[in-house]
């Protein structure tokens, strides 16, 4: 009886019911969407680097170390000695290391001096590996591999020659013009800061600064790509390095060992910890988003109550008829409750579907333009709790008109109120 009458009643109030369903659906989609973007942004942020146990650099602020090493934000204050790096690299508990040498830029994009370990060991978003889309990894002194975004922006192809500038500002007057680099590869997009970096070898980084010991171009450069051999270049310093231990349990012990390393003032930072710390300082943005979507949801629920409540006068007549035909007051209540619950439930289902549809459509766009990676996955437990609360809220809200109808029906008896 209830399903039959509810179906007919909703059919009768098609437009109003549809609008209610739509407002619930939109607010559900918005709430879940914000949740997804929030999580996507956080995961994207904290998963920029994975499987790295420690980031090691010169003593200073741990957050700064992470920012310049991983995000290429800010500038390093000090370097560490290459000899210290090689020593730590050979510690028995170390699995692999990736050296990072910063300081130069190409048209505003940071140049990263590193070695083949980056391409072998660097992981992001769990177990994603860096891949070279076109070409190969840098081997020669003047080889350069471009991050995807850099290559896209300047329309570079392999075997293009580029000139790096000294320092990290976008407008640099000091260029390494005597030592042009040859593009040997372009990296696959990763939706991480890697896309905005360009990679050369540590030797390359050292080579372009030969004679620059004072921070300005040397008096007699005399250095040409032809007269330099990789074996002849002595690497003096690097900025920082990434490290993975053979067993995670050794991380803390190793951290202490590096922090108290006698020859060189160094520190080691656990990246996950630092990233979470950093994210928390940014979390007010996500809280605002969350608050806005909650407001939208409240409006959606209120619209259901309002529409049911306003239709109540019109229904007072109907309810008297149902009562006369033997429907108890309880049945009248369940009729209204069922209707509001059905509307909310339909809204939730459509809203969730809408979310997945939108995700499916905007995902590639978000990933390429905002470096925001949103996995399409089954609703998380938090999201299920949200959906459950919305359903619960909707049903609770449905009680308001239902109780009013109950009171009316007891009071009216079989009198039809017009």
């Amino acid at each position: 009886m209830i399903t039959y009458l509810t179906r007919k009643s909703i059919q009768n109030r098609k437009l109003t019911s549809l609008l209610c369903v739509a407002s619930i659906a939109l607010s559900v989609a918005l709430l879940l969407g914000v949740e997804r973007i929030k999580n996507g942004a956080r995961d994207g942020f904290t998963n920029t680097i994975s499987q790295t146990d420690l980031i090691v650099g010169a003593k200073g602020g741990p957050l700064q170390l992470v920012l310049y090493t991983v995000f290429r934000i800010g500038s390093p204050t000090n370097n560490i000695r290459y000899s210290s790096y090689t020593e730590i690299k050979n510690f028995p508990e170390v699995d692999w290391t990736i050296p990072i040498s910063l300081g130069d830029a190409y048209r505003g994009y940071r140049v990263v001096g590193t070695d083949e370990n980056l391409f072998k060991h660097y992981r992001y978003r769990g177990d994603q590996k860096i891949e070279v889309l076109d070409g190969q990894v840098p081997v020669g002194i003047f080889d350069v591999v471009l991050g995807y975004e850099v290559a896209q922006k300047f329309q570079h192809k392999t075997s293009d020659l580029i000139i790096l500038s000294h320092g990290i500002s976008e407008k640099s007057f000091m260029e390494h013009s005597v030592t042009p680099f040859k593009v040997v590869g372009i990296m696959k997009p990763t939706a991480t800061p890697l896309d905005r970096s360009i990679f050369i070898t540590l030797e390359g980084m050292e080579a372009i600064h030969l004679g620059w010991e004072n921070g300005v171009p040397g008096k007699n450069p005399g250095i040409t790509p032809e007269n330099l051999k990789k074996e002849n270049i002595q690497i003096g310093q690097i900025t920082s390095f990434l490290l993975k231990t053979k067993s995670r349990i050794q991380t803390l012990k190793l951290q202490r060992k590096i922090d108290t390393y006698p020859e060189d003032p160094m520190m080691a930072v656990i990246p996950g910890l630092a990233l979470h710390q950093l994210w928390r300082t940014l979390s007010y943005v996500e809280n605002i988003l969350y608050l806005i979507s909650l407001c939208v949801l409240a409006v959606g629920l209120i619209s259901v109550v309002v529409s049911l409540y306003t239709s109540l006068n019109e229904r007072r007549r109907e309810i008297s008829i149902f009562r006369a035909l033997g429907a108890g007051a309880g049945k009248v209540v369940s009729l209204l409750l069922f209707e509001s619950s059905l509307i909310v439930l339909t809204g939730i289902l459509i809203g969730t579907t809408l979310l997945y549809l939108c995700l499916f459509i905007v995902r590639p766009y978000l990933e390429s333009n905002f470096s925001l990676y949103l996995p399409i996955q089954f609703p998380s437990s938090t999201e299920l709790i949200y959906l459950g609360s919305i359903l619960f809220g909707g049903i609770t809200a449905g009680f308001i008109p239902a109780i009013k109808a109950y009171r009316n029906s007891l009071q009216d008896g079989l009198t039809i109120q017009v």
Partner: protein
């Protein structure tokens, strides 16, 4: 002969404690067709609400088909109303978005016991009633598309489906013109001849009383005289 309705020394007031209805004896025999004369504001809706088991008197006896309503639970009374009582309102009897047929079948949808009283196919039963009440052509039209006369006849068909023992008509003709009133009354009484249910017919139009076994004036019956509501 057994009584369909038995009210003794009954009094009733709503929550505001202002007395509405007080009567010594009111009895309706089974299969009787009784006319109750009641102008507006004499406690008529209250009386019908009591008979239908929606309200309970604060004092006195109220029995319908021998069942003491005062000691019967609300849901039981709802069930009895659904099963054995047909109710026709003055106006707005129908659910506007349901068809004529669906409106006639509504009691069977709401109360299972009513449905179980019909042995044959439901639709056939409804169609038969519709035929009796000159509604065959409009059977599949939406209620809101019907004329007022047709709507009242649909209401009668709905009250009659499943052969309830008691039919209460609350001013069913007051919204109809003379021609429709006569037709409605004629058809309703013909059904009564055939099915022999108890018919309680309330109207402020005393001219209709001639067609009934007995006529009762509610203002005379009700001992509360200064009813101003």
């Amino acid at each position: 002969m057994k009584l369909a309705i038995n009210m003794q020394n009954l009094s009733f007031h709503y929550e505001d404690a202002h007395p509405i209805l007080k009567l010594d004896v009111f009895e309706v025999k089974k299969q009787e067709k009784i006319f109750i004369y009641g102008p507006s504001g004499c406690g008529k809706s209250t009386l019908l609400g009591l008979i239908a088991g929606v309200f309970l008197p604060q004092q006195g006896t109220l029995e319908v088909f021998g069942l003491d309503f005062c000691s019967t639970s609300r849901s039981k009374r709802d069930k009895i109303r659904g099963k054995e009582i047909g109710y026709i309102f003055q106006t707005f009897n129908l659910i506007p978005y349901l068809s004529c047929l669906e409106n006639i079948l509504l009691p069977c949808i709401i109360t299972r016991q009513r449905k179980n009283k019909i042995t044959g196919p439901l639709e056939q039963e409804a169609a038969l009633l519709a035929e009796h009440l000159n509604l065959t052509e409009v059977l599949h039209k939406k209620a809101r598309q019907l004329s007022v006369g047709q709507q009242q006849r649909v209401a009668a068909a709905r009250a009659l489906i499943g052969n309830p023992q008691l039919v209460i008509a609350d001013e069913p003709t007051s919204s109809l013109d003379g021609k429709n009133t006569n037709e409605f009354l004629k058809l309703l009484l013909r059904e009564w001849e055939e099915k022999q249910f108890t018919l309680v017919f309330v109207s402020h139009d005393e001219r209709l009383a001639n067609d009934f076994n007995r006529s009762v004036s509610l203002p005379e019956l009700n001992r509360i005289k200064d009813l101003r509501k």
